[in-house]
């Protein structure tokens, strides 16, 4: 547990891409998602929330956001938005504007329904087992396949 921090920035960042089902909010993502996130933050002003709710598309058209991202925002496709550089703390201003609980919004990013997700949390949450490393998962799968053969 007690190693010295990695000092090479490339290795440091590369490791982040090895975590299953996770987008770490790095510079690359922060730059890509800049306007998506600035739009989301605008939901903190009541006037903006009202204008957005009155005509979502018209409000989105005021922002320098790709058509793809606008579509993802309109259909609240948060995984797509994470891929486009959205960050959950910014996007959560949109959950709030929608009046949806944080956990329900999180469930939409998983392969579960909201009741299933809620039950998983009550049962102790998602286990880290098998969720730590893409590399390790692939190695384990390969080993299992070899054992079978």
């Amino acid at each position: 547990m007690a190693e010295k921090p990695t000092q090479n920035i490339h290795e440091y960042l590369a490791e982040f891409e090895d975590i299953p089902g996770t987008r770490v909010y790095t510079a690359v993502r922060a730059r890509k998602g800049y306007w998506i996130n600035q739009f989301a933050m605008s939901m903190m002003q009541p006037e903006n929330r009202e204008r957005f709710k009155a005509d979502q598309r018209a409000y989105l058209d005021e922002w320098d956001i790709s058509e793809e991202a606008k579509q993802a925002l309109l259909r609240r496709d948060y995984n797509a938005l994470l891929d486009m550089g959205g960050n959950v703390y910014f996007l959560s201003k949109l959950f709030s504007a929608d009046g949806i609980p944080f956990a329900e919004a999180c469930s939409t990013m998983t392969d579960m329904t909201w009741p299933e997700y809620r039950q998983m949390m009550l049962d102790g949450g998602r286990s880290p087992e098998g969720n730590r490393s893409i590399r390790e998962n692939l190695a384990a799968a390969a080993a299992a396949a070899q054992n079978k053969a």
Binding site: I9, T26, Y34, P46, S92
Partner: protein
């Protein structure tokens, strides 16, 4: 002389604020969580801290991507409450302690910490939820607060090692303040949680409890845990635990545990809570 008399670690889940604000804090869901804080609320009533150095992170509420300070210290007289998308929480404004805050800021910069000094800021649930957990619903918060906002959103966030060192420097700064003040330091956020992507909902009871054990220890191994370990083991938002290390670093080599509590889940998150006293 001012003195850091205790350190508190605590989760700061926004839903806990909602539970307090809507009076649901003793229902079946929230009851066991708030029960874990009962001891601490009583203890705080006796301790009567003059000032809390409250280490937290802004969740894209006051700071947007246009400015991302690694360590920002609030030196204002007063801090307003952020509207995080559903109106500001109905809690009192937060009173600062500009004399001590500026003193700490100055001392930290002399010690080669590259602080950002803040004289105007609204604070979000990261700061107000711990106040509600420790003090319930007073008409006015019973102590002054020095907000210390840490970037744990945009990578790289500061290393655990750097956070611990900042804590050590805060201890030195507080102890060189001439006025007699009872100062606490709180580290907030965490524990294990992931709020994004297909892996959302990850919790890790075993790791969280090992982390609490390490905080209680008189060695400083915990400062060397790497970001990647927090991310793999405790979920992408578990990284907030680096802020607990600022608190722990400010308590000195040896600590005594006064209270410890752990509960799963609150919304997406594991709730952890620890009260430590310097014992050097």
């Amino acid at each position: 002389m001012a003195k850091i008399t205790a350190g508190v670690g605590s989760s700061h889940v926004p839903l806990l604020g909602v539970a307090v604000d809507q009076g649901k804090d003793r229902d079946d869901y929230f009851g066991p969580i708030f029960a874990g804080y009962d001891w601490t609320r009583e203890w705080e009533k006796n301790e009567k801290p003059d000032v809390v150095v409250l280490v937290y992170n802004d969740h894209a509420s006051y700071f947007d991507m246009n400015i991302v300070p690694t360590f920002a210290i609030g030196c204002a007289e007063r801090f307003g409450i952020c509207d995080e998308g559903w109106g500001p929480r109905p809690v009192p404004d937060v009173e600062g302690h500009p004399d001590l805050a500026w003193h700490i800021a100055q001392s930290l910069i002399l010690d080669d910490f590259d602080m950002t000094i803040i004289n105007k800021m609204d604070v979000d649930h990261g700061l107000t939820v711990p106040l509600s957990m420790m003090f319930d619903k007073p008409a006015k918060w019973p102590c002054k607060v020095i907000p210390l906002a840490v970037n744990v959103v945009t990578y790289p966030v500061p290393s655990g090692n750097r956070c611990w060192a900042l804590g050590e420097a805060i201890k030195k700064a507080v102890e060189s303040f001439p006025e007699d003040l009872n100062v606490q330091i709180w580290g907030t956020g965490g524990m294990s949680h992931q709020l994004q992507g297909p892996r959302a909902g990850l919790l890790n009871r075993e790791w969280d409890n090992r982390f609490l054990d390490m905080l209680e220890s008189d060695n400083d191994d915990v400062r060397h845990i790497q970001h990647i370990e927090y991310l793999r083991e405790t979920g992408s938002e578990g990284i907030e635990m680096v802020m607990w290390l600022i608190m722990r670093g400010a308590l000195g080599k040896t600590v005594k545990t006064l209270h410890r509590h752990y509960h799963i889940p609150c919304s997406n998150t594991a709730i952890g809570h620890i009260v430590l006293e310097p014992a050097d």
